[in-house]
Symmetry: D3
Subunit: 270 residues, 6 copies
């Protein structure tokens, strides 16, 4: 088995598969803790951590690794779940998985932005590293939401540990948020990246505008989509990929492609 | 008292104020029926129908009337609610109310588009009249989502009754939806307008891609936002309007402006 | 009768209805003074001040109030006029009235931007308050002119009186204008808001690029449109709204909707 | 002297220099006839026809020739005028002349689009040849107005004579206009090209939405700008070009560059 | 060793690594044949075919697989090469590899679009399947070139063999190209997809506008970039990814990340 | 004969016509020196300097003069060449000549931007004067590449001599480049303007990201296009302009229009 997996949560309700496309199990734990605060009481979580990849994603190359890892984990573990969350900001692999899986798939970015757009007109993203900004900008543009992006502001100091950012840099992150509102005209703040899971809640009282958290939004939007019961696409660009020769794929991935194409399923309304 | 009001629903949970900015009580009933199918079991609804306005909104002038009516109803009735829904596609008054009310406000359009964006890349809107399309296009552009709009298609026949459209025109609406997928490249369908409340569910099995319904999405996103506990803006463009002289407003509206400015509140996290 | 009205001006020529959608009669006087400097000698003005609303518009909520007030005044008073001006920057109600009235309708923003676009490539807006900027940005985007907006700069100090801004803050406004040219690359300046009526002329010699004034442009463009004799739309999204049931509207507004739909008129060429 | 020139019109009022950047004197006559119908009674016209160029502009290469011809004529003849009109759709040379001349400069396109934007939200251009469409599209984009362009439709038949298009093709042009409204969603029609001067007026009663004519709008907007008295730019991208070595230019053009740079003038308010 | 590899070509000159991110060796042969026609006489090619993946890429999921395969092949084989080509339209992995490799990287799409933009203003893409269009549209938008895209047209019939498309469907492809020029206004045609390598040349005489071929452009642009001698980024979003913990990667990929970060190299000018 | 001309270079290979649309022969020498460093060994150059125009182009008016001069030189001298380069940043006349000439035409801007887009996602332009920035911004927008423009930064000091800028201002130019990377997020630098020809190479080691040079890119892309053998357009907006009456043109220009239209040629593949 690749990566850490463990099903946790209640005995009924929706089952969410939460994929950390990075190798940091401490970040998985952070994600899980926030997901438990966000989910409905009877939702059940399956957490997975990537077996292959890097500690956290800041670049296009790392996002490519994360997308591949997320797809592999989803292929192995999606059976029996009602929705899948790719728990990294930037949504590596989300659009790809949305084609191949029979259930809704959300990323931290698309969930957070969809939610932020209901709370104000323009949002700013607060990020954990300078390097990550270019990739985030491209992701927002891929979502077609560049017209609502007030800006991206990021920490410009070395990160001593990826899982302690919130504690170490809380004041700096709040200062970035204040500047985003005052200078960039942000109406809503998106505190970005799985390592910041939970921060929106813990510093909310210090922020001048509403703030959202990727994990919080992703869990809630995944529950919303799973209970919506929307049908899976049978046509258009999110129908399952056409059947065609393949080789060298993991058995789970090959089965996903075969099964997806052979039997386009439908999420049952709940 | 202006318009029809009545609190309905369970004894606990979230309280949603649902405003029909038009005068059609039969449409209010349609909205309520779909809202009850969508809401959590313990959510409670307050329904309001505009005392002043038109039967349904197709134009900018009518939307202006609807926005004013929605604001008046919200000012009168929002106390004690956790979120407010403006139940007309096009979201008349939503951005205005988002400034003035202490709780989240959603419209059918912004809720449906935020949800649709999590189900695919490009969406098409299926509408009930030719005339309504220009206004919808402007609303989508106001949301900054024109890059994800595959197109708008609309019925081109006279509507004999606004509350019987679903039954009378179901086949024509399905045909428009199929054309939107086949010719315009839609990944998701948005069945637009309160008079189509419930249609996404009843014809889902006939549609080639997932479809969403404005009322369904608005109720679910309003519940999501209310339970998120995001703080109200104290700065930026959605902070309460500054205190300044006014005259001639309804007492409720004047109180809203005074109270909003005086005591920017915060929705308690739930 | 709601609000202050009074016909003034010469005995022949065009008749303009000028609507102040705010309640500030001192601002109406400022608008009238500038309109008299701008108009042709034989143009006649009817000035109206909103009976209901706020002292000046800075937010979406206040703009919604202003749009409704403008519509009510237009419905009551447009008969016998050749064009209507909504004399607030941001153009509350202009698009709505353009559907419903048989004569041309202009706002301070669309008139000023159309004029500015003939004087240079990129314009900057100089505004009277920080809060107003987000709304102005949305209005420019609604005009489709975001590609020509160099920026918006605004006073960041309290306004002691809305009708004395020009005198009190002239130096600060000129400094903002200079920064807009030097730092933002503005080719033309738009001095925004009815309270700045006349400023473009009084400080023109201190400004490095051409400047336009909303009232000045609105009066001149309204005269131009009225004399152009363009036909009223019989089709498309600015044709009169379709006839449909309504209730609770003012008699003038109901008559406007009935008459507009029943007898789409045509401005006679002059 | 290059080209045909002749001052015509009344003894007082504004003096407009109207430049036909093409060599067709019959089109100059058409332009003049429409300009006389559009101008104020006391406006005086100076008409010029290009000495070098082509019969009418459909391509970028021909527009380049027209821009150069317009600049040459303007340099020779602008003295003593209050505004300059480049009387070809596509505005060859207008932005260049706006830098170099001490008075306002308008083209048929920017005048028509600025006017059309006050009459509705989206405009369509009706053009005289298939080939011309690509260039027009680029011009609209250069104006930053692509978001308001509903479409361009053009005659697809050979033109037997450039000055008889209106008579020969009136029915076809009206059919294009109707299709633009019905299929493309145009709110306003722009009948494009100097050879169509006057058509908007003669077929107005047959068109479903308001229509504007480039010459009509250019004359009226030129009068408006001339009487506005806006200052000439002393800074920014429309200030006179910096003084620098030149050679081989016509004496008038060299004098214009020298004079423009040496003594940036100001149009006196009228 | 994964996939087919073989160095071919002359003894001097530039060395290009050409990666087919799909598993179709017959397509690799087609790519190689066209690359040999395009390359300079002394260029040497190394061809690689993906060991894992699908027969050809039409969807986002398949593109994710291709990106990962391309990265793995590049990590294994890039040493000793002057530039790398990812030989699939859609450019899977190109942006990621551009961060990680010390030499220029081009894809078929970005090379073809950069070239097409020098031959005209608007291009159309001719594609081999309906399904592939949505992904291509997103790729063009990722390049920021949506404003120059006249359209995408695609075969709508089953492909009996991926390597025989040119012969089987040449007439249909030419008909699509003609429609793209006549109806969509294309100035240049991009014949997209590795399976069409060589077609632009073989049908050029039948096409009304210039046509480019992805492989042809990629080889030539790769040679151009390799000989340009541009330095590798030491800062910005294409600098090597920062050093950080990783696990589970192939040895070559891990070495690439380590080496890339440790020793940002520079392509020597040639 | 107007302007300085001289064929230089080897006896075989491609023949490039390089047009300096300005009158500065010292800049022509700078262009030629860099072109010789960039071209293939057997490429032959014909250099031309404008007989009429200004010392260097910073404004739209000067660009109009340059476009006309470039067209005149091209008409006189293009026979016998395989490609034409307009050697001024801003590409005066390039689109026009692309219609009229039987061989590929490139400008410094479109060549540099097409190349830069293959080296990173966002580019910044480093320019020699403040005034030039507005025009450059419009040129980038005309290329549809505004979404990839990180910014434009320019020297803000007087230029003592146009041909000595590199030596005099190298440090200032490097500082602008560093700021473009650090503050604007540039991935690639475009050192703009013929007077900077060669600078990208001489300061490359001091720059944090890859830099390109307009002349270098134009020569290489012209060679690429000439050897590509793309057919000339017979349809669409870059087909030769239609035959129509003209007068007053130079004999070469008249012949070009006649010949172009009469015998649309095709560049032979090489």
């Amino acid at each position: 088995m690749s990566g850490a997996a463990g099903e946790t949560g209640g005995a009924g309700g929706l089952r969410l598969l939460v994929l950390n496309p990075n190798i940091s199990e401490s970040v998985t734990a952070l994600i899980e803790a926030q997901a438990r605060r966000s989910m409905r009481p009877d939702t059940r979580l399956t957490m997975r951590t990537a077996a292959a990849g890097v500690a956290y994603i800041e670049t296009r190359f790392e996002a490519m690794l994360g997308a591949h890892a997320a797809a592999g984990m989803a292929a192995e573990s999606c059976a029996g779940h009602d929705a899948v969350i790719v728990a990294a900001f930037g949504d590596p692999g989300v659009a790809a998985l949305r084609e191949a899986l029979p259930v809704p798939v959300v990323g931290l970015t698309d969930a957070a932005l969809s939610t932020a757009c209901l709370l104000g007109q323009r949002f700013s993203i607060i990020a954990i590293s300078q390097r990550i900004q270019a990739w985030y900008r491209e992701v927002v543009r891929g979502c077609g939401l560049e017209g609502r992006l007030a800006g991206i502001r990021a920490l410009n100091r070395p990160l001593s540990a990826i899982d302690g950012i919130q504690e170490e840099h809380a004041d700096a992150l709040v200062a970035l948020a204040e500047a985003a509102v005052r200078e960039d005209g942000a109406d809503v703040l998106v505190l970005a990246g799985a390592p910041l899971a939970g921060l929106a809640r813990s510093v909310a009282h210090r922020l001048p505008v509403p703030a959202v958290d990727g994990v919080d939004c992703a869990v809630r939007q995944a529950e919303l989509l799973a209970s919506l019961g929307a049908r899976r696409a049978r046509a258009g660009s999110f129908a399952p990929p056409p059947v065609k020769p393949n080789r060298g794929l993991s058995p789970a991935c090959a089965a996903l492609l075969a099964g997806a194409a052979g039997a386009p399923g439908a999420a049952a309304p709940r």
